[in-house]
């Protein structure tokens, strides 16, 4: 169920250049049903900025009633968010959207998780849940450069992890597709989150494989009422547009026209 919660910040730290990890405590955590869901955060009680900010959930600790979000402080809203400190309360709406289906990969099978930049965070909770049920996870994580790489160690603890940087300052130089080509197609499912060009490249390279992609789009309400965050489907006809916030953000490969 979607609830509006005043969550308490329990920690906030910068983990890479302009990349922040924030832990939030509140009853909303108990409502999260799948990895890849997101929350809609009001960073200020004033009209500046006015709209909420959609941010993916990176990790959940149900026992502690705590969730972790990882975001890039880039615009006005996320910069204000990055100034919050432990003990501050934040208005959070969620959990929103449909996450990654972990049931699509069985115990003993292999999954490849491909993330790009600020699309990496939701893959962390996904990998935790997949590995917990016995799925072997391989991670391919792409970043611009070494200074914005995060969670390398955390992912490595869960499974084989390949870091890729565009400028070659860390890990493999180039794009996630370079590593994908090396690893081949011997896996059962792929899951991906990142910028549109990356999702397009991943879907093309893994054509015919079972996969799930998480999309991003400018949002208004976050619950499906305002029709701002639509994306086009490959089907055409009446279902030509689907809503990223409430129909997605995760869709099976091939559903969204990219």
């Amino acid at each position: 169920m979607i609830i509006q919660d005043r969550m308490t910040v329990t920690s906030q730290q910068q983990i890479a250049h302009n990349i922040f990890e924030m832990k939030l405590n509140g009853k909303l955590v108990g409502e999260i049903s799948s990895p890849g869901q997101f929350v809609h955060i009001r960073v200020s009680d004033s009209f500046e900025p006015l709209l909420r900010r959609p941010i993916s959930i990176a990790s959940i600790d149900q026992e502690a009633g705590e969730m972790t979000i990882i975001y890039r402080a880039e615009g006005r809203g996320t910069t204000i968010l990055s100034q919050k400190r432990s003990g501050d309360e934040i208005d959070v709406l969620g959990p929103l959207g449909n996450g990654f289906p972990i049931e699509e990969t069985a115990d003993g099978e292999t999954a490849i998780l491909i993330g790009g930049g600020i699309g990496v965070p939701p893959l962390y909770e996904l990998s935790k849940q997949l590995t917990a049920k016995g799925v072997k996870c391989t991670h391919i994580l792409g970043f611009q450069s070494k200074d914005v790489v995060f969670y390398e160690e955390e992912f490595t603890k869960l499974g084989e992890t390949h870091i890729v940087t565009v400028d070659g300052s860390h890990g493999t130089a180039g794009f996630v597709t370079n590593v994908m080509a090396e690893l081949g197609n011997e896996f059962s499912t792929y899951y991906s989150c990142g910028p549109m060009p990356m999702l397009e490249a991943v879907q093309t390279m893994y054509e015919g494989k079972k996969g799930f992609l998480s999309f991003e789009q400018r949002m208004g309400c976050g619950i499906g009422a305002c029709f701002a965050c639509v994306c086009q489907t490959t089907e055409g006809s009446e279902k030509a547009y689907i809503k990223v916030c409430s129909d997605g953000p995760v869709f099976p490969a091939g559903v969204v026209a990219i």
Partner: protein, 304 residues
Amino acid sequence: MNRLSIELPGLQLKNPVMPASGCFGFGKEYGQLYDLSLLGAIMIKATTLETRLGNPTPRVAETASGMLNAIGLQNPGLKGVMEGELPWLEQFDVPIIANVAGTETADYVEVAKAVSKAPNVKALELNISCPNVKAGGITFGTDPEIAKELTKAVKEVSEVPVYVKLSPNVTDIVEIARAVEAGGADGITMINTLVGMRLDQKTGRPVIANGTGGLSGPAVKPVAIRMVYEVSKAVNIPIIGMGGVTETADIIDFMSAGASAVAVGTANFVNPFVCPQIIEQLPAKLDELGINHIYELIGRSHRL
């Protein structure tokens, strides 16, 4: 005694607060969050004769104390609304105001005729002010004579009272208001969004794919208040006021300016519970002002 009830043509409102068209879909999303029967009414998303897919993305952009949108009247079309949306809303004790849009008079007439027969549709809102579609919409709302003729044509076929939604993107909104009154409108809803634009700092190009978008949110409230004030002095039909309504103080302002009820738009995106919250807070606000029944507020600004 219900201190919040308001009676308007076709509408017995429990309270004067309703979500504005285009900001509430057809109610299903908000219906997961609270009981829609708490609302005074619901203005559903615009209905056109055929399915409309709307504009390309990005469709929204944030601005200072507001936002721009250019959704482009995406909706499932008359058949989809009649069969897929309105029946679901019948479970709630709430009057529906159906927003009717089109690209030519015949479209408006056909949609109005059909949708006004739905049992829970108690009034129509004639959308002659959408700034985000290429044909129709706002072109009907900027020429007084055309606005009057369209109002007349829709009044002839509608089974329920007709409210006309005015555009603020005109030189003289009073002239348009008088024209639709002369055309037989039972009420006015105002204001639709103000046409605006935001540019991308890096590319210099508009952020919204459509180029322009409609500005809404707290930023537009002073414009809306001024227009409601002017129009309410000039016409004898009731006004449902909107434009930046976010808290109870805004309800007081709009009704004082001359509105008989208010609609909440953008604020639903910021706080999805805003409508029931401000309805609940309203009696205390009336106490604070020494007002017995909310009716006493209407047009207070003109009496001073």
